[in-house]
Symmetry: C2
Amino acid sequence: MPAAAPALDQLQHHLHTTRLLGSISSTLYYDQNTVMPAAGAAWRGEQLALLAAQLHERQSSAAYADLVAAAEAELTADAPPQRRRNLQLLRLELDRQCCLDPALVSALARAQSHGNAVWQQARAANDFSAFAPALRQLIALRREQAGQLAAAEPVARSPWEILAQPFEPDISKARLQELFAPLAAQLPGLLEQVAAAPAPSPTQAFDLPEALQESLCSELLDGWGYDGRRCQRSRSAHPFSCTVGPEDFRITTRVVRGQPLSAFLATAHEWGHSLYEQGLPRSDDHFFPWPLGEATSMGVHESQSLFWECRVARSRAFAERWHPRFRQGLGSDPWGGVQGFWRSFNPLRPGLIRVEADELSYSLHIVLRFELELALLEQELPVEELPGQWNRRFKDLLGLVPPSDAEGCLQDIHWAEGLFGYFPSYALGHLISAQISEALEQQIGPIEALVRAGQESALQEWLARSVWPLGRSVNAEQLVEQVTGRPLSSEAFLTYLRAKVGQLAEGA
Amino acid sequence: MPAAAPALDQLQHHLHTTRLLGSISSTLYYDQNTVMPAAGAAWRGEQLALLAAQLHERQSSAAYADLVAAAEAELTADAPPQRRRNLQLLRLELDRQCCLDPALVSALARAQSHGNAVWQQARAANDFSAFAPALRQLIALRREQAGQLAAAEPVARSPWEILAQPFEPDISKARLQELFAPLAAQLPGLLEQVAAAPAPSPTQAFDLPEALQESLCSELLDGWGYDGRRCQRSRSAHPFSCTVGPEDFRITTRVVRGQPLSAFLATAHEWGHSLYEQGLPRSDDHFFPWPLGEATSMGVHESQSLFWECRVARSRAFAERWHPRFRQGLGSDPWGGVQGFWRSFNPLRPGLIRVEADELSYSLHIVLRFELELALLEQELPVEELPGQWNRRFKDLLGLVPPSDAEGCLQDIHWAEGLFGYFPSYALGHLISAQISEALEQQIGPIEALVRAGQESALQEWLARSVWPLGRSVNAEQLVEQVTGRPLSSEAFLTYLRAKVGQLAEGA
């Protein structure tokens, strides 16, 4: 820091401590989900609440607001644009924190905890009516929150848009509708085309031994630059990626009985998240505690995990390379050759459950949720009509009718915690990954060819150069435009899917 | 809490938060030693320092001092003795914190960190002279610390005694000399007696496969009440036990190549520590954040781990029960029968290294260190004479001369961090365990018979009733007197060892 910016120095010190506290929280979260015994949950909840209170205080106190204002006052006309951007992002977040009535924050925290508990029971009992009152309350509180936050928004935004900002900065409903309309129009047709082809082999259920799955995951990571000095892989009930310090990256996976490829693909996915985190500009002291050292959006984050999961691990070339290893490990070939093996990575069959969906149907699950969130938050859809609306639209988009609400509108945890505005990021991840992949291929050649040659390191180097260091210097759409030279659209993703559907049909 | 004690309520709230922060620190420590990648160390150091600063602030601030004083003012003549004792212990700790010059605290923290780093190199290079300046500085700082703390001591204490208080409250040099003199007098003779007998079998080196050692450790814990809902066992470089929350207990072990029983015995040892922690009065809200909910001394803590390691796992009856399982797991019997198997748990041969010592020689390692600490801190022994003094006394006590300082006075980490006053607790653990065992046997019968019948649960129940719930209501010596009806002495331990030496010689 230049000596002429003492407030900036103090602000950096403040942010550094905030980051330390946040990363302590992440460590507790990691411990909780990997090794903590069940009875430790209540105490862990108290520990996390204590840290959350400290974090909130640090991010909304008058002393902090003074620091931000003093650093803004130090900004000269010739200040580096990165500094200006850092302060803008801090200012926006501070203004948002300050808009919120603390009573509402507490009420929301209680409603989320209550919503989660009620949802667990309602889903287990397949009883939407037991969950409806909690959902109604969460919607009301979130609308109230959006109303309070509106004062801090730099442009006019609808309630849903305001709630989506933390996940996808600067996103609008109109833009999402524009991006999603081609998906809703074209994906059902592609699904029908696939449905006409024979089902993927093997048709009989089989499994890979747990120890073999563990070995395969380790080999995958070893080939993709996993460094045990900076990284740790553990087991957890649900796979996740988690950054615990500037040189401390964790991922977790799980072995799912009856789903022989689940752990392998989840490892690829979570490692993609982690690579992005590892590539963010955090080693430079100027960046690490500042906003520019952070991921720019959940959509971009997801694009990085989906790149490694879908573009690489589900590619034909990757299947060619790994088929011998899987066959040798298992001692047999239930896939009947490499094409069958590849197709087992790409079932392309619509199903009821979002988290089990493949590339072709996944986005339709998201379109459905996006439309319903808008209906609930902005179009006065009565909560009790949610199951009917869900089932009707699900039939339209995916051709299936959920036999129960547990497999329908009760399947996700997000709404149970009042998390509205998050789902679209998952689909944006697919679009961004596809468009970035096109740019990558124009510059360094086809992904299939690089993967066939075992040169995933070239893919990493390109991402490390082109995508990861951008941090929050740009938002998601700006990032795509900067990297690909074109505005984000659904075209690259649809082109990719059409090609894949054709390729999979060959030799079926 | 009664409504008539509002300051006490506030104080409890304060202590509760302090305990939350301390347990967050423990979680980070656990993570650091089990899964954290090496590169995470620097950031973890910053996280721990932040928490340490917060803890120090909470334990020494004027606001906290006011709370303690207000709670003391609320104490009426008929207040429960437990409340009085809690406040006395808090007052003593607060007075000690307040005596210390913050500049000294910082200087000590730096010297400890420096001492540790220098010691690592000096030990690796077997170069005591490289470590001597750091040790000299640590001694000077610790003497200064003892000088500052003297003002808070309720009775006159020597510098070494003051430094030993955190580990062994109320201990004195004279008392330790009284307790240790019979050990120094009688153990060498016992060692000579054993040396005359043939060496324990198997004479050839062998090992147990890692997976078998893991299974044996799990089975051991399952038989000793390990509850996966409240406990977690992990791997770490050095075994330890760690309490992370009132219902969250962790232990770690390691498999040591070439030492087939190391993991098994370490599991027994660490589980003993954990059982004591689990049995402390922490489930009752009145106790958990208060001093009475804590372990009363390191010596008592060690007595609980040594009880399960030495009195149970190294007993003849235990060997009889487990020999078939070890033999079956290994597919052979390198011990040549149960007596050989039992003797492999009890080598009783003097060695150079404390942490590898058996029951017979362990205390002599401690006597040596205790004497040298007194010489360094209170008798002006020049630091450069430490190696010579070490080797001369080692020969007197254990009959061996260390071939290098790395295997002599450089072997332990304690002095490298200026930790003086800690070692005696290890030997006290043996004495306390032996004397408590005598009382237990008078009340519920011989340990050997109970172990032979697989009734370790009876041992646990007795300890859970007689020892663990005492917390810090009494100090270590008071605990022993309360549980056994006699003042602590070395007699029970020496009686036990004499019997064991005789038993081991049978059928040799």
